[in-house]
Symmetry: C2
Subunit: 417 residues, 2 copies
């Protein structure tokens, strides 16, 4: 008997039929002799509908009341899922975030989990019940209902798995695992049987929207075994765990890309202390999310540097920088949009020199010039023009031996029934 | 400065526009310098929609999960109303039942309130905020979310008014007060400026569906001043309070009627101890709601008796009684449907003999025979055939001096703006 936390997203419980399918899936796990705690998101468009209602009433959406409003979405899901499970003959009980013991900061809209007291969850499990917990929500010390913000339900699942010492936390989603790259771009992309937390973190941050980075970090910190799998098939998913059990000899595990990147360059900046802090402090204050920052060598007391933001935020970023001109003197401000960031990720990189050079060669072979480079221990990112990105990703996929013919080696999709 | 509890039902907040109108109404009260606590029900059809979703998943609706599900309706209302109020420039804060301190029995679906600890409500009022509380819900000692069942939001409002010692509890509804009888039947029905708790209780039980009897009882027990008024007009409503402030000299305050009554008669019942308990115990066990019970004198050890039930339950009542035949011997079982119960209600009756006789005379003048009579200190009910009921109600209305010409005496509707 193992103890599983199973997390189902909003699209998995989008309507009555899907809800029943999820109920059946959970019942099967239970019938295999396991203990099940289920974390579920709001059904389909519920959250968006609730936000729309609020917007019809006000231009300003107060965070506390929005949390009060939005948490009803998950409360509806958990009660209906419990009813659906009971309808097929299993005992089930649903808990809101506060009932499941999620204590959070008071920071409405994106509260962090401070502590979990899962007494009621454990008691219900001990009584043989399937326990269903509302994702995305908790309660502050003052008894206020809070939400965890983006990726909240993934984080709920992982945190609960850590708190009740579950054997694994299964994230059910609409893809059947983590792929070496986007299968819509590279047909021979292969599903990874396993991946390390750090690789997953890089991939999650880099636009592979399957698992929220916050949840991955939580899982890494608490050594929670994560499994990403499909809620529609019985294929084996991808296990996210410590590197020890990783497949050997693989240098690059996956290739991620991020479309709609804008590069902003500030040229001839007076190289005095505090200048960088001034510029990026102003951007942070306006909540412009800056990704890569590159400074090129200073000369005559003047420096050039560039950074990337999401294309949608480029205009705003430019006007923020212009507004700092009184404090920060620079010669020129330029920007370039419709760029793409392509990244190779792999824990094996650390011990394999020349991995970045290979990437630069592949890109250059396509006649594309690299505009920015950023590296970490397990990642190399290049910002390039968007035009040839599909060819480049495919070429990288081949160059790093990721194409599907390798599947025999790593074990491919396998239909259990 | 007075402290008001204002209760708005589901139809008052049925859509965005109505929600905004209610917000404005509350803001006006606040701007007059009063403290406001608002109790609100689920929007329009929300509760029915939630029940429908559950029914699509299961034939059996587990009470605990249904409470979890249904309470989201009010949680949506309170947050949206708070947002609407904030949008027009007032500070507001919403509380769920448990946040407002409603402690109830664990009896899901119809939990009684055990205690209220309104600390957070009072604290928010002291901070100058408009407080919005979810009607119909509470929390059991075990931390389970419960609902109060029928009339729950009225009861929430009254109980909260008692707990925070409000100056009045205003029930906003789609009629502008309690009328001497149904204005759809008697054109000159008049709105009562005030009415006693006991009279209101009789009227509430007798089919004037404006205020739930449970809420009236709670108000009586805790001396909460109730005001029934319209959420659409600024007309003065009807005050429900102790008799002391009642208008003098009025014997009958109102005339109620209940359509679709069935009479069931059991003739020649062996008059042994426990027979009545056997029959009515069986009916209660099957949840058949029995209203009037009349036993006529016993003779030769045999008694006849009759009782009324709602017409829709007549068949079921008959089969329950037939099923008791092994234990209860009787000669004959008969029933009659499509009857109407007409009732006159008035606290003044106690000190005015002959009130019932007058009622009998009016009915007999219409050539209608009375099938059953039931009386209490402040009420006389007659069960009659339904055909001439409108004429009889109109005639009673005139006989007891309730027609609108009396309005000059008691003060009629008055438009405040």
């Amino acid at each position: 008997m193992s103890l599983f936390v199973m997390k189902f997203g909003g699209s998995s419980v989008g309507d009555t039929e899907r809800m029943q399918r999820v109920a059946k899936r959970i019942a099967e796990k239970k019938e295999e002799g396991h203990q099940c705690v289920v974390v579920v998101s709001a059904m389909g468009d519920t959250t968006d509908d609730l936000i729309d209602s609020a917007k019809r009433l006000s231009d300003h959406l107060p965070a506390r009341e929005m949390d009060m409003l939005m948490t009803t979405g998950e409360q509806i899901s958990i009660s209906l899922l419990s009813i659906a499970i009971q309808a097929i003959g299993h005992e089930a009980v649903s808990f809101t975030g506060w009932q499941a013991g999620f204590e959070t900061e008071a920071n409405h809209g994106s509260a962090r989990i401070l502590n979990i007291r899962p007494d009621r969850v454990i008691k219900a499990l001990d009584a043989g019940k399937i326990v269903i917990v509302a994702g995305f929500q908790g309660m502050s010390e003052d008894g206020e209902i809070t939400t965890l913000g983006r990726g909240g339900s993934d984080t709920t699942a992982v945190a609960l798995a850590a708190a009740i010492k579950a054997d694994a936390c299964e994230i059910y989603t609409d893809v059947d695992g983590i792929y070496s790259t986007d299968p819509r771009i590279v047909k021979c992309a292969r599903k990874l049987p396993s991946i390390s937390y750090d690789e997953m973190l890089e991939l999650a941050n880099l636009g592979a929207a399957v698992l929220h980075p916050r949840a991955v970090e939580y899982a890494k910190h608490n050594s929670v075994r994560l499994i990403v799998r499909s809620s529609f098939t019985y294929n084996e998913g991808t296990v996210v765990e410590e590197e020890s059990s990783m497949e050997q000899g693989v240098v690059v595990s996956g290739i991620a890309y991020d479309k709609n990147v804008a590069r902003i360059s500030i040229l001839g900046v007076s190289d005095v202390p505090g200048v960088l802090a001034g510029i990026f402090g102003a951007l942070a204050a306006e909540r412009v999310d800056v990704d890569i920052i590159v400074q090129s060598g200073s000369q005559d007391g003047k420096a050039d540097f560039s950074f990337t933001v999401n294309g949608a935020e480029a205009e705003r970023a430019l006007s923020v920088i212009e507004s700092t001109r009184e404090r920060v003197s620079y010669r020129e401000l330029t920007s370039e949009t419709d760029l793409v960031k392509v990244s190779i990720v792999g824990a094996g990189m650390v011990s394999h020199p020349g991995v970045a050079a290979e990437m630069f060669r592949v890109i250059s072979d396509q006649g594309v010039s690299i505009k920015m480079v950023s590296t970490s221990e397990i990642k190399v990112s290049c910002v390039i023009e968007g035009e040839k990105v599909k060819d480049i990703i495919a070429a990288l996929h081949t160059a790093y031996n990721l194409d599907t013919q390798e599947q025999a080696f790593v074990g491919g999709p396998q239909d259990r029934r």
